[in-house]
Symmetry: C3
Subunit: 478 residues, 3 copies
C-alpha cells in the first residue's frame, strides 16, 4: 500500500524535462551577439541624435534645440516604456504562483524584442539608401516598443504554459511578422493606425490565440490548483492595469503628427478609457448573483476602450464619439470574459477590441470631410500627399478595412506556423500538472505561502472534508 | 445549546442588504449615457487640438508646433493622472482587507468624475459664447483631474463604510459643488490657487468630513478586526504615498503660467515636501515610547507640505519660505494623527494643511511688491489685468482669505446636504460589522489570509487564551 | 530546566539599546532648521524661475516661453525623481522583514540629502559672485537628486544593519564628499560624466563598501533567519528594478546638452540596458544546476548596463557600442553576484560597473575625432571652450581616467572616515541578532506572517524534523 502510494507519487512528481540550462543561455548569448553584429553593420544615429545636429540646425534654419524631435516625443516615449515593462509585466502577475515568470519573462522578451524590432522596422521603414544604414532616433525607440507590445500581448495567451526559450522564439518570429504586416498596412495600403488597433492589438491578439490553439493542452486541469489568484497578486496586477490605463493616451499619441495630432489623440483616448470603466463595472456587477465585482474584469476590460480608439484617436472622432467607442467596448469586453474563456483574456482585451478599433477607424476615415477637417487638416491627418495625393476619404476607408484583414491573416497564419515550431519537444516547456508554476524556472525563496505539489494538494482537499478526529493529519499536511 | 449558538450565528451572519446588482449597473449605464448625450451637445476640441490648428498657427504667426499648449502641459498632465489613479488609489490600500475597494472604487469614481467635471467646469470656465460649445484641450483634462481629486479626498473620509453607488452620488454632487466654488473663488473673487490648497484640499477635506459626520456609525467597533493594516498592505500604500509625493511638483505647476510660473511652482513644491518628511519623522518618533516610527504618519503627513504650498507655489514664496511651510505642516499634520483620530486622516492630510495653504497664500499675496516681482512680473503672476487691472497686492491678500472661507462653507454645507441624501436606506451600504470588508462588493480569490467572520473571530480570540487541551478547536476554526 | 531556558531566552531577547526617540527627532529638527537658515542666507530662484524672467526673455530676444530650461529638463527630472524615491526605495524591499526600513529610510535620507546637496553643489557650482547667492532651477533639482543617488547606493551596503540616525550622518558626509569630488572631477579635471558612472556610482559604491567594511559584524549570522526574501517582497523589489531600468535613459540624459546631446544619451542607455538583460539571464541560468533563474540577478544585474554607459552616453558611442557595453556588464555583474557576496550587491551593481563606465568613457573620449563628431560637434560635446579650448581628445581621455581615480579615492577614504565615526556607540544601531528587522524601528501591524524571535525560531526549525507525536507543540509555536 505504501509502495503503491509512493509509486503514484513518483509518477506525478517525476522530474520534468524543463531544464533550460543549455538552451536559454545559448539563445540569449547567440542572439545578443547577432544583434551586436547587425547593429554594427546597419544602425546609426539619425540626424537629430548625431553630433552633426548643430550643423543640420543651421542649414535648415531651425532656431532652437527645442525643435529637436526629442522634445516632441520623449515624454510619451517614457510613458510607453512604462506600459511595456511595468504595464504588461504586472498585468500578468495575477496568478498566485506565476508572478516571477510574468514580470521576469516579460522583461526578457521585451529587452530582446526591442533590439530586433529596431532592425526589422529599420529595414522596412528607415533605411537610408545613400549609405545603406538605418538611422534611429526617439521615434524609432517608440516604434520598437510598439512592436514588442504585439509580442507581449501574445505572451498573455500562453502565460504559464511555455518556457522562456519558447517565448524568445515566439518573439523572434512575432517581431518579424509584425514588421512585414506593418509595412503592408501602413506603407503599401497606406492605412493610418496611430495607436495600433490593427497593427498591434489585432495582430498580437490573433497571433497569441493561434499559437495557444496549436499548443492546446487537454489535461491542463492538472494545474488547476495554480490557476487562481490570491489577494495580493490581484493587487500587483492592478499596478499593471493602472499604468496601462493612465499612460494609454501617450501610447495612442506617441507617434502621431506634431501639434494638434498628438493633442487630439491624447484627448480621445482619455475619454474612451473613462467611459469603458463605467460600462465594465456595470456589466461585471450585473452578471453576478449578488452584484459583486470581479477583479478579472476590472483588471482587463477597463482597458478595452484604449485599444478600440487606437486607430481613430488621431482623427476628428469628436469627444462624444470617443465616449461611445469606450462605452461599447467596455460592454463587449466584459461579456467576453463572462461567456468566452481564455487565459489572460487576450481575445477580449486585444483581439476583439482591436478589430472594433479598425472598424471605427475605417468608418471615421470614410466619413472625413473638408468641412470638418479643413483642407490642409484633411491632407495632414491622412497624409494625402506624395503617391497618395489623389486619395479621397471614402477610398481611405476601404483601405483601412483592408488593413484589418491583413492584421488578422498575419496573426492567425503566423501563429499557426510558429505554434507548430513550438510543438517540437526540445524547448523545455512544463508538464501539464506543472503549468503556472514559478518553481519550474525560478529559484524561489522559502516561503510559508508555498503551493503544495499535486498529490499532497489532493490529500489536503480530501482532508478538508473529513471529520475532526482526523484533523491532526490535515494540520500536518499544511 | 447548539441551536442557540446557531441562532446567534444566524443573527450575526444574516444576509445584509448590500446587493447592488440593480443599482450599480443602473447608475453606471444611465449616467454614462447622459455623459455621451451632453458631450454630444456641448463638447468640442479647442483650437489647439482641432485639425484647423495648422490654419490657426499661420494666422497667429506661431512658428512651430512646439508652441502648442500640449507640449507645455502634457508631461505634467500625465504626472497628475498618475497621482489621481495610482496615488490616491494605492494610498487607501493600507487596510488589510479593503485594498480592492480602495483602488477599484477610486478607479470608478475618478473615471466618472473626470467626465462630469469636463462638463461642469466647461460651462463655468470655457464656454464659447459664439457657438455655445465647451472647447477642451490638455488644460481641461488637468482641471478635470484636479476636480476629481477633491472627491477622492472625500472618499478617504468614508473609506470602507459606503457602497460604490453612494460614492458615485457623492462624486456627482462633489464635482458640481466643486465647479461652483471654483468659479466663485477663481473667477468672481479672483483669488489665485495654482495647486488648489483651497479649491481642492480644503473643500474636498471638509466635504468628506461633513459627509462622514452625517453618516456616523456608533457601532463601528464591530468591524474592529478589519480596521488595521498588514505588512504588505502598508507597502502597497507606500506606492500611493510616493507617487503622490514625487509628482506633487507637477500637480502644483500643471496649470500655472508658462515659463517661470511653472518652473517656480515646481521648485517650491519640491522643497516644501522635502522639509515635511523630516519633521514628520521627528514627531512620529518623538511620540512613541521607544522612538519607533508609525507607518500611518509616513504614508500621510509627509504629503502635507505639498498641500500647504499649493496656493503660494507660483508666488515668490522663496526657497526658504517653502521649507518653512513644509516644516510647520509636517509637525501639525503628524500631531493631528496622534491627537485627532479619523479614518484615512482626511483632516490632517487635506483639510487642515489646505487651510494653512490658503493662509500662506493670502499672506504671500498681500506682501507681494514690485521690487520683488518686477512690474510686469507682478501683473503676470496675479493676473492684474482686465477687470482686475487696478487691484493691488494687499487687496488681493484679502480676497485670497475670502477664498478660504468659500471653500470651507461649500465643503461643510455641501457635505451635510449630501450626507443626508446618502442616509436614505436604498444605497446598499454595509452593516456595522461588515465595514472595511472587500467581501461585500467583490468576488474574492480563495486565500489563506482570509479574515474570519465576526462570530468565529471572537471564538478565535477566546481560544487563543485557552489551554492546550482545547487547542484543536482553535486550529479547526482557522 | 525551565528557569535555564528562560534565562537563555531573556539573554537573547534582552532589550537592545536601539531607542532613537531622542537622537532621531533631535537630528531631524536641528538639521532641518539649519537648512532653513542656510537657504534663507544663500538660496534664490535663478533667472528662469524668477518673475523677472519675462524681462530676461525680452532682453535676450528669446521668442517663446518654451525656451525656458524647464521644458527641456522637467520630464527627465520627474523620471529621475521616481528613480530616487521609488526605484532605489523599492529595490531594497526584497528582504522579508525590512521593507518598511528600505522604503522609509530611503525616503528620509533622500529628503534630507536633496536639501543639503542644493547647498553644497550650489556653493561649488552655481554661486553668483555678484550677490553671493546660489541660484537654483530645474537643473539644480536634478543635480541634487543625482547627489543623493550616491548616498542611496551607499545605503544599500549597510541595509538593515544601521539606525536611521547613522543613515542621516552617512548622508550628511556623503553629500559633502560628493560635492567636493564632483567639483574636482567635473570642474578642475574637466572630465565629462553625464550619467555619473564615476561621480555617482563609483563614488557611492566604494563609499558604501568602505563604511560597511569598517562596521563589519562577525556575528551577523545570528540574523540569518531574516536575511532572505519572500515571494511578495521579491515582487515589490521588482517595482524598484523596473522603474530604475525604464527611467535610466532619463537619468543619463537629464543634464546633457540640449538637442542631440539629450537625444543620443537616451538612445545609448536604452540599448545598453536591453543588452544587459539578455546576458544577465544567460549567466544566471548557466550557473544553476537546472538552469533556474535567480531573482537577485534579475533585480540587480539587469541595471548594470545603465551604470556602465553613464559616462559615455552623451558621446558618439554608436548604437552597437552601447550594446557591447551592456553585454559585458550583464555578464560581469551577474558573475559578481555568483562569486562575490555582499548585501544588496553594491559592488556588482554600482562600484564595478561604475569603474567600467569610467574606462569606457576614457577610451571613447580619447578616440573622438573631428571626422566622427564634426568640428562644432566635438567642441560642444566635450566643452572644449573657455579654459579648455586647446584640449584635444587624447588628453581628455587621460583626464577622464584621472576622474575614476578621484572617485575611488574619495569613496574609500571618505567611507573609512565616516565608518569610524559611525562605530561610536551612540547611534542606536541594532544588535547582531536583530539586523534586517523592521521591529526595531517601526510600529508593525499585527500580522500572521510575522517572523518569530530567534529562540522560538530555532525550536521551530528543530520541531520541523521531529516525529508526529510531538507535532502539536510545533503547531502551538506558530
Amino acid at each position: 500500500m505504501g509502495n503503491c502510494i509512493q509509486g503514484v507519487k513518483d509518477f506525478f512528481l517525476r522530474p520534468k524535462n524543463t531544464n533550460v540550462r543549455l538552451s536559454l543561455p545559448a539563445v540569449c548569448f547567440v542572439w545578443q551577439i547577432a544583434m551586436i553584429i547587425l547593429f554594427g553593420v546597419f544602425i546609426r544615429y539619425d540626424e537629430e541624435s548625431d553630433t552633426h545636429w548643430i550643423e543640420h540646425r543651421k542649414s535648415h534654419n531651425i532656431t532652437s534645440d527645442i525643435e529637436n524631435d526629442f522634445y516632441f516625443r520623449y515624454p510619451s516615449f517614457q510613458d510607453v516604456h512604462v506600459m511595456i515593462f511595468v504595464g504588461f509585466g504586472f498585468l500578468m502577475t495575477f496568478l498566485k504562483r506565476y508572478s516571477f515568470g510574468a514580470v521576469g519573462f516579460n522583461f526578457l522578451v521585451a529587452a530582446f524584442g526591442i533590439q530586433w524590432a529596431l532592425l526589422m522596422q529599420g529595414w522596412f521603414h528607415s533605411l537610408d539608401y545613400t549609405d545603406g544604414k538605418i538611422k534611429i532616433g526617439v521615434e524609432s525607440l517608440i516604434n520598437a516598443d510598439f512592436c514588442v507590445a504585439g509580442c507581449l500581448i501574445a505572451y498573455g495567451a500562453v502565460l504559464g504554459k511555455v518556457s522562456p526559450v519558447q517565448l524568445l522564439v515566439m518573439t523572434l518570429f512575432g517581431v518579424t511578422l509584425f514588421a512585414v504586416e506593418e509595412f503592408i498596412i501602413l506603407s503599401l495600403i497606406h492605412a493610418r493606425d496611430a495607436g495600433g488597433s490593427m497593427v498591434i492589438h489585432t495582430f498580437g491578439g490573433y497571433y497569441g490565440l493561434a499559437v495557444s490553439w496549436v499548443l492546446y493542452r487537454p489535461n491542463l486541469d492538472q494545474s488547476k490548483r495554480l490557476q487562481g489568484s490570491v489577494y495580493h497578486s490581484d493587487m500587483f496586477a492592478m499596478i499593471g492595469t493602472l499604468f496601462l490605463w493612465m499612460f494609454w493616451p501617450s501610447f495612442n499619441s506617441a507617434i502621431t503628427d506634431h501639434g494638434d495630432g498628438q493633442h487630439r489623440a491624447a484627448i480621445n483616448t482619455y475619454l474612451a478609457l473613462a467611459s469603458t470603466v463605467l460600462t465594465t463595472i456595470a456589466i461585471s456587477s450585473l452578471f453576478q448573483k449578488t452584484g459583486k465585482l470581479d477583479m478579472v474584469h476590472i483588471q482587463n476590460s477597463t482597458l478595452a476602450g484604449g485599444v478600440a480608439v487606437g486607430t481613430a484617436a488621431e482623427f476628428m472622432l469628436t469627444p462624444y464619439g470617443s465616449l461611445i467607442v469606450g462605452f461599447i467596448c467596455g460592454i463587449l469586453s466584459t461579456l467576453g470574459y463572462i461567456y468566452i474563456s481564455d487565459t489572460c483574456g487576450i481575445h477580449n482585451l486585444h483581439a476583439m477590441p482591436g478589430v472594433i478599433g479598425g472598424i471605427v477607424g475605417a468608418i471615421t476615415a470614410a466619413a472625413a470631410s473638408k468641412e470638418v477637417y479643413g483642407e490642409e487638416g484633411l491632407i495632414n491627418t491622412f497624409d494625402f500627399d506624395g503617391d497618395f495625393k489623389d486619395r479621397v476619404p471614402t477610398v481611405q476607408g476601404g483601405h483601412q478595412a483592408a488593413g484589418i484583414c491583413v492584421a488578422i491573416v498575419f496573426g492567425i497564419g503566423g501563429g499557426i506556423l510558429v505554434g507548430i515550431i513550438l510543438r517540437l519537444p526540445i524547448w523545455g516547456d512544463p508538464a501539464d500538472d506543472n503549468c503556472f508554476n514559478d518553481e519550474v524556472y525560478w529559484e524561489l525563496p522559502e516561503d510559508e505561502e508555498s503551493i503544495p505539489p499535486i498529490l499532497e494538494y489532493n490529500n489536503h482537499m480530501i482532508n478538508k472534508h473529513q471529520d475532526m478526529s482526523e484533523s491532526n493529519f490535515s494540520v500536518e499536511q499544511n
